[in-house]
Structures are given as C-alpha cells and as structure tokens.
Symmetry: D2
Subunit: 136 residues, 4 copies
C-alpha cells in the first residue's frame, strides 16, 4: 500500500498483530488504553468498528489489489459486552467474495476470549483509478 503517510488511524488507535490466513481469515488486535476509551472508561464502540474495518479492508485489498482498490461500503457492528482492560482481538472470516463486494464476519473478543462485539463488513471492490487511489 502507499507509503506517503507518517501516521494513519491504525497507528493512532494502536492496531497491531495483523495477520492473514489465506484469503478467508484475517486477524488483528488492539490494546485497551485511554486513547480508545469513551468517557465511562470502557472501550469506545467506534474503536471496535474501526478495528473490524481495518482488518477486513486490508485483507480484501491483499486479495484483489493492486489492480483493484478495497473500500469500506458498510460497517455494521453490534456491541455485546463492555471491555475495560486488557486487549481486544478481532478474527474476520470471509462470507462472500463477489466481483464488486466482499462480505466479512468479524468476532471481537476480550483477553479472556469472551465475545464482546460482532461486526459484518461489506467491502467494495473497484478498479484502481488510473491516477492511483488519490485520483478517483
């Protein structure tokens, strides 16, 4: 992917340990810290939605790029259990690999392995604009 930036949301929120197992499974993690908390002291739902989106758009791009780009089209995240400490682990499994969209189901769990959120991500696949991603 492009190198022109010094930071990105992934770094801002401390995403780490990204890995991909073939085309069908991808993983990522974030440590619980104030930077991702909301005012009540628990992890902000948006941080969990962000982690799900980063893991799945990156995994889709690795499969369809560089001739295509992969862009989030829909992020549907349900929050089941608040998390205050430790880390959050995301495991994404692909459910649909269409010509124009990929769909992933993501489970987010806490350090004890308890399910804390479920995300269903739709990633749009589009031909890379001729001028690169910034040209579109």
């Amino acid at each position: 992917m492009p190198e022109q930036q010094t930071t990105s949301l992934d770094e801002t929120l401390g995403f780490e340990a990204y890995e991909r197992e073939g085309e069908e499974v991808a993983r990522g993690r974030m440590k619980v810290a104030d930077a991702i908390r909301q005012p009540f002291g628990i992890v902000h739902g948006g941080a969990m939605a962000s982690l799900a989106e980063s893991v799945t758009s990156r995994a889709t791009y690795q499969a369809v790029g560089p001739d295509n780009i992969a862009l989030g089209m829909s992020n549907e995240t349900k929050f089941l259990r608040p998390v205050s400490d430790g880390h959050i682990e995301a495991v994404a499994r692909v459910r649909h690999r269409g010509r124009t969209t990929w769909i992933w189901d993501v489970e987010l769990s806490d350090a004890e392995g308890r399910l804390c959120a479920l995300s269903r991500m739709t990633i749009a696949v589009r031909p890379m604009p001729s001028g690169g991603p910034g040209g579109g």
Copy 2:
C-alpha cells in the same frame, strides 16, 4: 460525565464542536488529518462510525443521565463518498426514544456539504450501576 481520564477516543481523533439542540438533534465535527486516514489517504470509515457514536451516545446520556447510562448497542454506518480533506460534520436526529433503546440517524457531510456517510445508531439505556459506570 466522569473526569478521571486524561484522554479519550474523542480527543484522540480530534472530535470537536459538539452541540445539542434540545433532545432531538445533536452535532459534532472532526478535521481531516493523517490521524484519521486509512492507507489510501482517505478518511477511515471507522473514524466516521466513531464520530456518529460519540455524538449520539453523548446526546442520549445528556437526556437520560445521570440515573441511567447510555451505551452503544449497534452502529450501522454506510460510506457513500470518500473524503480526503477539510472536515466532516455529523448531524444526528433522534428517531426513537424508547425506555431501553434510543435510535438516531446521523448524516456525515464533507466541507462542501456533500453527504459522505449515513449512520444509524442504537443506544442502549440502562440504569446506572450502583457503584458507578465502572461497577457494572
């Protein structure tokens, strides 16, 4: 809301200009910067989902607290148009004020006023745990 933290996701991502118009409308904004971009240089969808969630959970809490807490239950965000510069403005309108859930529709627009994302947030309303939010 509690004061014990030095930062929160809202500050990490640079959310600003929160305001509430009665119980039914709330607004917030974020400046486009590398800290909220994804690797292609556009605003990360998770940042938009986070802004929608911050504005609506805060506005719900202002209406139902401090006897109740307001927690994100479902965040469904659709991305319509990539944003590379300027800022993003969120306008949330309440659609349902139930005893246990509030539902908000959020429009996210760029600096030219073009719609770039739509979010439907479900916020759970629960009695404040007796030991405070950390006690639940």
Copy 3:
C-alpha cells in the same frame, strides 16, 4: 416489468397503493390481516421488511430500467412499535443514487401515523442480462 406470473409476493401479502413522486419519494401500503401476522397476533416483521423492499426496488427500477435491473442487496429493518390492526403505510426517501447502488430510508407507520419501523434499503443496480432477468 415482466407479466408472466399470476401472483407475486406483493399480491400474496396484499401490498397496495404504490405510488412514486419523482425519483426521490415512493409510497406503498398493506392492510393488517392474519396473512401477515405472526403467532402473537401482531404484524410479522418480515412483512414490514418486505413492504420496504418492494417499494424501493420498484421505485429504483422505474428510474434505472429497462436497461438496468434493480435488486435488493441489503435490507436493514428496525421494529419500534408492534401493530395489531388497521394498515401500515411505507414512505421511502432516496438517500443515495450511485452508479451501482441506491440507498433508501423507509418509514413505516400505523393507521394513526405512529412510526412503527425504520428500514434502510440498499438496492443494487446492474446492467440487464442480455437474455432478460431470467438469463442472469
């Protein structure tokens, strides 16, 4: 649209009063009857989801056909208030008219005008298969 059928889901469930106001608004209605109830005697959520989908896919097709087809891609319906009698009125407003997807917000109300469900429909727009819709 094709004429080869004697019935369709719209007739099975008693959808009526479809009308379209330009490209941006469309309406439809169903009478509450046992045929659309669930076992507790209230209107089945699936009937409301179906009404939202019929109104929006039909209105999209009227705008993009006959060179394109319009197919439901995602139906997200939230149920706010049970309905036992009278009728249900759907009002759909378009929120996004893209090249490959249209997004509609649908409000479903009871005979007293109270909001009972909200639906967000994504309709895929695709070129008509050369052999007609059955050829795809």
Copy 4:
C-alpha cells in the same frame, strides 16, 4: 403459542420443516413458488428476511417463554445470490443470549447448498404482558 388464528405469515409464505437443536441452532425451509417471488421471477428478499425472522423469534420464544415474549427488534439481511427454483433452507445459530436481547446469525442456502443470503437478527426478550401478548 396462541391458537386463535387460522393463518399466519408462516403459512402464507409456506414455511415448513422448522426444527430446533437445543438452544443454539434452529432451522426452517420454504419452497420457491410464485407466492414468494418478486416481478423478475426470483425469490423476494422480504421472503428470505421473513424466514430468518420466523425461525429465530420462534426459537428464542421456545427458550424464554412463556414468562417472556420474543419480538423481532432488528432484521439485517444481505442478499448474495438470486434464487429462482427449488427451496431455501435457513440455518440459525445463536451468537448472544442476553437478558433483554438475543442475536442470531442465519445462513440461507438454495437447494444446491449455495449461500444466497445472510441475516443477523436481534430478538428482544420482554416479560409477558399480564393480559397476554395482546395486552401490551
């Protein structure tokens, strides 16, 4: 469940073969027929959403009733592949059994076993109204 009705949406749409495997899995099926088709001759998305909702609300009620009722709160269905013939089989797996909501993931497949839709259902669990379900 109550016996006062002669028909219901399940019968109208021809749902059959409902079965439950413990608290965690439930199944149902519908035959493809004109009554559940849309005008292009394929199965109406609303019929698939309805099947998912029937299977999961029934399975939830079997677990939490008769002291509680189980009502659809959110039906999010994605359509992956059009179906023209045969039958559709739904398999629902519970993902969350909370005090006030259950969440199910439903896979809908055609007669060849190909995945044609994915549904995520949120079912609200509420105390049975004292006058029965019609009393609430």
